[in-house]
Amino acid sequence: MINDAASEGPQPAFGADQRQLAAAQFQSANVTLPELWTYYYGIGGNADELALDAYLNGMVELPPLQVNLLHAALKEITADGL
């Protein structure tokens, strides 16, 4: 993830809000963590399931691209009504 710092996308200042939004979306979605991880992996995500869990619980940061992919996964999986 060498180029993540240079890439565009949401700025780190919104990191905590983004995380809370993701965590809230995950809580209310009818999706288990393994299901979320599998979907996220399917759209190209590279973090493992433990890292997603840790991120959603505020324990670690994820690289910006992985955060964006997690958001995309949550958005798509909830739009599917899974």
Binding site: G44, N68, A72
Partner: protein, 258 residues
């Protein structure tokens, strides 16, 4: 212990063991034949109802399964059990929900004399039910389940009947555990297969964006993510349209060994 008593006891336990063995065989067939958990539960409810009904005491059986982050699964041997199970779920109270939450059996021998669940008992009596036995199933899977038995008679379950119901429920719980496990693994496998397919298309699109824009892998990925979110189109669909705009291909077969 006299010989006579030993003889009678062994006869009794042998008959019961054979009947239980027969039940296990039926359940094994159900697991092999059912396409999903609900099918399995419906057939299992029918078998339990038949096994516990005798003479004029026609027992209806409903089974409720609650899994984390899944809709509640309700299955039943007949329409009467179905509507009574649904009523309790609508009211949010009743002997079956109490059994489910407390993980202990709840027996209401005479609905007319019971004051614990007024709404539920009135509705059940209206449906011609006079006694209810709710037996929770103890599962290893992260799920909760209860078997609800309805009898049209007061005191519809004798001591022997309650024993029989307990023994059937204990055996049924193991079969349900296996069925839940298989369903879980099947779902996980389907999800992974879908993920592999989707990832192939996306990886291909990333390569195309990298070549066109002379950019890094992550920069290409951010372009894809942005496009998807701005147009409100799924990532996978954006990726597929990029690949087909270059190659004309619309199908992206992913081969992997099952």
């Amino acid at each position: 212990m006299s010989e006579d008593i030993e003889f009678r006891e062994s006869l009794y336990s042998r008959g019961r063991a054979e009947s239980l063995e027969d039940f296990v065989l039926q359940l094994q067939d159900l697991i092999l034949d059912s396409s999903d958990v609900r099918d399995f539960l419906t057939d299992m409810a029918a078998i339990i109802a038949t096994r516990l009904s005798h003479g004029g005491n026609h027992i209806s059986c409903g089974i409720t399964v609650i899994r984390d982050k899944r809709p509640i699964t309700v299955a039943s041997s007949d329409a009467r059990a179905r509507s009574l199970d649904e009523l309790q779920n609508t009211f949010g109270h009743g002997p079956c929900l109490t059994a489910l939450k407390s993980e202990t059996a709840v027996y209401v021998p005479d609905l007319a004399a019971d004051r614990r669940w007024p709404k539920c008992t009135t509705a059940a009596r209206g449906a011609g039910i006079s006694s209810i036995l709710a037996m929770p199933m103890h599962l290893r899977s992260p799920a909760q389940s209860v078997v609800n038995l309805y009898s049209p008679h007061k005191h519809g379950f004798s001591h022997h009947g309650i024993d029989a119901a307990e023994s059937l429920t204990g055996t049924a719980a193991k079969a349900l555990d296996i069925a839940l496990n298989i369903a879980h693994l099947r779902d996980a496998r389907d999800d992974l297969a879908a993920a592999l397919e989707s990832r192939t298309v996306i990886d291909t699109a990333i390569g195309a964006i990298m070549a066109q824009n002379r950019c890094s892998h992550d920069a290409a990925f951010q372009i894809l993510v942005k496009t998807s979110s701005h147009r409100n189109i799924k990532l996978r669909e954006v990726a597929a349209s990029i690949v087909s705009s270059i190659s004309g291909e619309r199908e992206f077969p992913t081969t992997y060994e099952e």
